[in-house]
């Protein structure tokens, strides 16, 4: 069954060199019927159009038999191809019939009604084989070309970085001090109320109320009130706001979840009524 004999180099079975026993058999593994056919044709080194269907069918079946001998189950599509080849072969043996029997079953993509169709397909397949080979070569080539890694930090242009040099340490210290003072002044002017450490909640309530009344016309946000305050002050302000809300002196309104909290003063009349009630 093994195609030894007349064609030594053409044999699919490649016994290991120097080994008489056929225990070591390397059977090329083909992924699909086309790959096998392609291999068989290429081996012949003939034009794909000149292939002998009989010969190729013979070799194809030999391969399948060898597979079975090695208890490998050929996949279904290999068998479909075998059937297809036999069909084509038998068709050629039969006297030419009027070309009425074109059984083109659309659903079976792997069925070829004529040798020409099969060859055409094999040619297309072989074209992509060559492209795949090209890609393989390029892949290997590219793996040998190293580029600068793209995820490295942006290039720092040293020349631009050195622009700090004309400034001495003294300049930096002075600049820092100036900034500090500026910040302090800002803090003082921005803060709505200043307190000593002894500020009581009552003081805070009054202070808050005063500052709110002052800008009642405008939209006033709680964040603004807490701005630039120390931790103690912040807590006191927060309590003051809670207390004022409870007494109905101010309204707190938050439009969206985690949104800004708007403080508003209720209209005088109604506000007082409510607080008295």
């Amino acid at each position: 069954m093994a195609p030894t004999g007349k064609k030594e180099n053409g044999s699919l079975l490649m016994p290991k060199a120097g080994d008489k026993d056929a225990y070591f058999i390397r059977l090329p593994v083909f992924e699909g019927p086309f790959e096998l056919l392609y291999y068989l044709i290429k081996k012949e080194e003939i034009n794909i159009w000149d292939i002998s269907l009989a010969q190729i069918t013979e070799e194809y079946l030999n391969y399948l038999r060898t597979m079975q001998k090695l208890s490998m189950d050929p996949a279904g599509n290999f068998l479909v191809m075998a059937a297809n080849l036999l069909y084509l072969k038998s068709k050629m043996l039969l006297p030419k019939q009027p070309p009425q029997e074109v059984i083109q079953s659309e659903e079976d993509a792997f069925f070829f009604g004529s040798k020409e169709e099969l060859v055409r397909h094999l040619l297309e397949y072989s074209y992509f084989k060559t492209i795949a080979l090209k890609l393989k070569q390029r892949e290997a080539e590219q793996k040998k070309i190293f580029l600068r890694s793209p995820d490295q930090p942006k290039v720092v242009i040293v020349h631009k970085q050195s622009s700090l040099y004309p400034y001495s340490f003294e300049v930096l210290v002075k600049t820092f001090q100036k900034l500090q003072q500026k910040g302090k002044a800002k803090r003082e002017e921005k803060a709505f109320f200043t307190f000593t450490e002894e500020t009581t909640l009552l003081d805070k309530i009054n202070a808050v109320l005063k500052s709110i009344r002052k800008i009642a016309a405008k939209k006033f946000y709680m964040e603004k009130l807490l701005e630039r305050e120390g931790k103690r002050e912040m807590i006191l302000t927060f309590f003051a706001l809670l207390e004022l809300t409870r007494r109905g002196k101010i309204y707190l309104n938050q439009k969206t979840l985690f949104g800004k909290i708007q403080i508003s003063v209720p209209a005088r009349r109604s506000g007082e009524h409510q607080s008295e009630a």
């Binding site: 086309f34 992509f128 090209k134 892949e139």
Partner: protein
């Protein structure tokens, strides 16, 4: 930037810019650097490429889809590996993956069934792998029964294989191939 000290040639400036960049640079970007016309940049690139081809140079000029880039010569790889080991080295693509990619590259957009018809085998696993490696992408659906997904190659595909565009891949003996249709041009 002004080029008051015009002591450097265009190709020298190109070399400097390409050395500095971690990404391919386009002709426009190189024009900006060199302050010359696109035509002159192209000429400069040609001279730089030629100069780098000499044996005493370790770099080479790569023409990429996105532009130009410097890389180390393949011959240097074995030496460079001693110091710069590749951190991530993806396994080379399988034969099945390469064949499937070739088909997609030339016939895109193409459905899985169409690929399977050409290859004569199922390609589900291969497609999965190629999608994962971002070498192909889903490029819509084909009109008709089942509206199967269409696949096309990505810019990463060109990058991976160091191609400028798909025409780089075309086989010289194309005319001998029957059944090949379409020029496979993307976009």
């Amino acid at each position: 930037m002004d080029r008051d000290n015009k002591t450097l040639s265009t190709e020298a400036l190109l070399e400097a810019a390409l050395f500095l960049s971690h990404e391919p640079l386009s002709i426009e970007q190189l024009c900006l650097v060199c302050q010359v016309s696109a035509a002159e940049v192209k000429n400069g690139l040609g001279r730089l490429k030629h100069a780098l081809e000499q044996e005493d140079r370790g770099l080479l000029l790569l023409e990429r889809h996105e532009g130009y880039q410097l890389g180390t010569k393949p011959e240097a790889a074995a030496y460079l590996e001693k110091l710069f080991s590749e951190e991530y080295s993806e396994a080379p693509l399988s034969q099945a993956a390469l064949e499937t990619l070739s088909i997609i590259a030339f016939k895109q957009p193409i459905t899985k069934i169409e690929i399977e018809t050409i290859r004569g085998v199922k390609v589900d696993g291969v497609i999965e792998n190629l999608l994962k490696r971002r070498l192909i992408k889903v490029a819509g659906r084909k009109e008709g029964i089942g509206r199967p997904l269409l696949y096309a190659t990505t810019p990463e595909f060109l990058r991976y294989f160091g191609l400028k565009d798909l025409s780089d891949l075309k086989s010289n003996d194309e005319e001998s191939v029957i059944g090949f249709s379409g020029n496979g041009e993307t976009k």
